[in-house]
């Protein structure tokens, strides 16, 4: 039983959560893709072959594609739609009034769910128009039927969870290593802010108000990450050379880095970055998957190999398990510690650049409280704060659990105060599980 809990406990919890939220968010979904557009058009051409049709959608790319598929299918069936309106409710009223004034007969408004929800396409408004304009007195609003599917499991929602978890999960890799060595790093949130601001500042310095080139972007990002790594390395030096507890050193670095971020940004206002290329680092996708998620997966594969298949990985566990024994058996304890703190700085810097890219600004206020979220992900993922035990893949699951709960609570409309209580309780449960694993439960 205990072995089962320790091996598969967190995965089981994640699966259970996903199942629960899938079940709890079973809702009518409103399709508006090209295929449903064709369906709707075929329905019209069969049932109302002589109807005059107006296509109404919102002003968005997806909706335009939907409208185009309706239009094409209708035209193939020799029905020429009166017009396609892609816009706001007022545009539709304008169009309907125009048709009414011109006396053009209108039978069918083809639309999707979101626009059908608009009051302009509601009963009251349409009756009003029907009373005013005789040519609008027989109008039907048609939209695709809904189908039931968990909102939680929609593509858009899953991608958004992936996006939300990526930065936390990436920094949590290094935090796992630090915690396995029985250390802690509280400075990651501030380092994120510093790195983001630094990248933004460098881009501004090098490109002015113009569009920065690829070289500039690459230089600014790597400089920011390297500087964060350097600060991490200095943290490591303080911890190893002077034997100061990591908690104190990183608490100090947390304040220093935050202050430096404000200095570089010259105050609390963010530095804007006007560059589509920079924005697409985080906002872009590859094969339909957001770049941050791809980067996260790649880094997890690397760190998994590092931790379980290399000497360095074994050293990290050894240092955390028993530093004295590790030193006596020839493990370069100090160099291992320097390495994990430098990596922690570097990944925090990377996270900062990713955030800056996502929001197109270097914000000195960003990352406040992230260190605690990240440590929570590591702990929930089953890594012991006592050191020596833990798995990076567990951390990934831990980060996903936190993100899924957060997302699920939004979707099921749990209020924010309850959310705080839930997260706090979750961390307590994770620590209790940790105690159970190491058989330290005594009554």
């Amino acid at each position: 039983m205990q072995k089962f809990v320790s091996q598969y406990g967190v995965v089981f919890v994640l699966v259970l959560l996903c199942a629960y939220y899938s079940f709890a968010t079973l809702n009518p979904q409103q399709p508006s893709d090209a295929a449903t557009g064709r369906n709707l058009a075929e329905f019209i051409s069969k049932q109302h072959p002589t109807a005059s049709v107006l296509i109404v959608v919102r002003d968005s790319d997806d909706d335009r594609a939907y409208a185009a598929s309706i239009q094409q299918t209708l035209e193939a069936a020799n029905i020429k739609p009166l017009d396609v309106v892609a816009g706001e409710p007022r545009d539709i009223v304008g169009e309907l009034r125009r048709l009414g004034t011109a006396g053009t007969k209108l039978d069918i408004i083809a639309t999707q769910h979101a626009s059908a929800q608009w009051a302009v396409l509601g009963e009251t408004k349409l009756k009003e128009l029907a009373a005013e304009f005789p040519s609008l007195s027989n109008v039907q609003v048609l939209k695709p039927s809904s189908y039931t599917w968990p909102t939680f499991l929609t593509r858009g929602n899953l991608l958004s969870i992936g996006n939300q978890v990526a930065v936390t999960a990436i920094i949590a890799i290094a935090m796992t290593m630090v915690i396995i060595t029985a250390g802690i790093d509280l400075s990651v949130g501030s380092l994120m802010a510093l790195s983001g601001v630094l990248a933004a500042w460098t881009i501004h310095r090098m490109a002015g108000d113009g569009d920065p080139g690829m070289m500039t972007l690459a230089f600014a990002c790597s400089a920011a990450v390297l500087l964060s790594a350097l600060i991490g390395l200095l943290t490591g030096v303080m911890v190893t050379a002077f034997d100061i507890p990591a908690f104190i050193v990183t608490l100090a670095v947390m304040r220093i880095a935050r202050g430096m971020a404000y200095k570089v940004a010259d105050g609390p206002s963010p530095i804007g970055i006007e560059s589509e290329a920079f924005h697409s680092l985080s906002a872009g996708t590859m094969f339909g998957i957001p770049n941050p998620v791809i980067l996260m997966v790649v880094l997890y594969v690397f760190s998994y190999i590092l931790m379980s298949h290399t000497a360095l990985g074994r050293y990290i566990y050894a240092v955390g398990g028993n530093p004295e024994a590790a030193r006596l058996s020839g493990v370069p304890v100090k160099r291992v510690l320097l390495f994990v703190y430098a990596i922690c700085g570097a990944l925090a810097g990377l996270g900062g650049v990713m955030e800056a890219s996502l929001f197109s600004v270097g914000n000195p206020n960003s990352g406040v409280g992230y260190e605690l979220q990240i440590i929570a992900a590591v702990v929930v993922g089953g890594t012991s704060l006592m050191g020596g035990k833990g798995k990076v893949l567990g951390t990934l699951i831990g980060a996903l659990i936190l993100a899924v709960i957060s997302n699920g609570m939004y979707l099921t409309k749990v209020d924010s105060y309850t959310q705080m209580i839930v997260f706090g309780t979750l961390i307590l449960i994770a620590v209790l599980l940790d105690q159970l694993k190491s058989k330290r439960w005594k009554f």
Partner: protein, 343 residues
């Protein structure tokens, strides 16, 4: 075991739901006809028309730990219910990332409209653009967004510049002919506060212009963070460097109350008059107790109501004021004495 059974049960239900779900039908959402009164007739499958529930409005508040935003949220919910909408309120906790995630969920849930108090004027841009791309209108309330390319359908806020002018007038009123030295407790991060101080300075400058004696001199402008403890720290320092100040203008109630605590500690309560801003309950109470001279008060209740009314107008295809700035009103002790809300 029970847990396990429940899990299987829910899984089975879930799969069953999948099996019978994906239809490809068409629904008649509304049908208006001249010769009959029937308004809805589903073409096949279940009809979709529900008159009661028009849709949801997502509201991501700056922070729900400040009563101001709680009042906006409550009044939005109340007003929305009248029009058949449901408001989902989330606390962005002053964090742009949290707010962006909340906007994502509103998009996922197919909200009819999104309302935010932007946590940052610039960085919230990409999240708003996402909503723009999904065709969901975004409204801002109280705080504005200036990010390039982000389309804001409507804004309702306070006339902060006008409010700052009222605060300046209150300061002139309380200092009288003697004039004196004034400290400004600022919060430069917020554009709304910048406007308040600009309005305040304009009135004070105009007052000083043709005056030989009794001028009001702004001797210092410090960051009070809009918070009680920061306001306390800044004021404590200021009365060391300028012991003879006679007035303080604080950009909100919490920092004003912090300033009052500092004055109390230094024994300068009778020497220094405070003019604040907001008109939150504890601010009003402080005015009644004579701790603060006056507040230009804001109307978060109206802010919430007008925002929802604008959304309804938008969805009706009607015209509405794209930027509504609600004027503030000066609230003094005489108003506080009559206020039934206070004890």
């Amino acid at each position: 075991m029970f847990k396990r059974q429940r899990q299987w049960a829910s899984l089975a239900l879930f799969l069953a739901a999948l099996g019978c779900s994906r239809g490809s039908g068409v629904d008649v959402s509304v049908s208006v006809s001249s010769n009959s009164n029937t308004t809805t007739a589903p073409a096949h499958g279940g009809g979709e028309v529900s008159k009661k529930q028009q849709g949801i409005i997502g509201f991501s508040a700056l922070t729900l730990t400040n009563p101001f935003f709680k009042i906006i949220a409550e009044n939005m919910a109340e007003e929305a219910a009248k029009h058949g909408y449901e408001v989902i309120v989330d606390d962005a906790n002053r964090d742009v990332k949290t707010q962006s995630e909340q906007i994502d969920t509103y998009i996922t849930r197919g909200a009819a409209a999104i309302v935010i108090n932007p946590c940052d004027r610039l960085s919230i841009g990409p999240a708003i653009k996402k909503a723009n791309e999904a065709g969901i209108p975004v409204f801002t309330s109280d705080l504005q967004c200036v990010a390039e390319g982000a389309k804001i359908t409507g804004h309702v806020g306070t006339d902060n510049f006008g409010g700052g002018k009222l605060a300046g007038e209150a300061m002139i009123e309380v200092l009288g002919e003697a004039g004196g030295k004034v400290l400004v407790l600022h919060f430069e991060q917020a554009q709304s506060c910048v406007l308040r101080v600009d309005g305040f300075r304009e009135v004070i400058d105009a007052y000083n212009k043709d005056r030989e004696s009794g001028k009001i001199e702004i001797v210092a402008q410090l960051d009070g963070g809009g918070l009680r403890d920061e306001g306390f720290k800044a004021t404590s320092a200021a009365i060391q460097s300028d012991p003879d100040i006679t007035g303080i203008f604080a950009i909100n109630d919490p920092s004003a109350l912090g300033a009052y605590a500092a004055l109390e500690q230094a024994g300068k309560v009778s020497q220094v008059k405070i003019v604040a801003f907001d008109g939150q309950l504890d601010g009003k109470q402080a005015i009644k107790e004579g701790k603060i001279y006056a507040d230009p008060i804001q109307f978060p209740d109206r802010m919430g109501q007008i925002t929802v009314q604008n959304i309804v107008k938008y969805l009706n295809g009607e015209d509405f004021e794209q930027v509504t700035l609600i004027p503030t009103e000066l609230y003094r002790k005489s108003d506080a004495d009559k206020d039934p809300e206070l004890k």
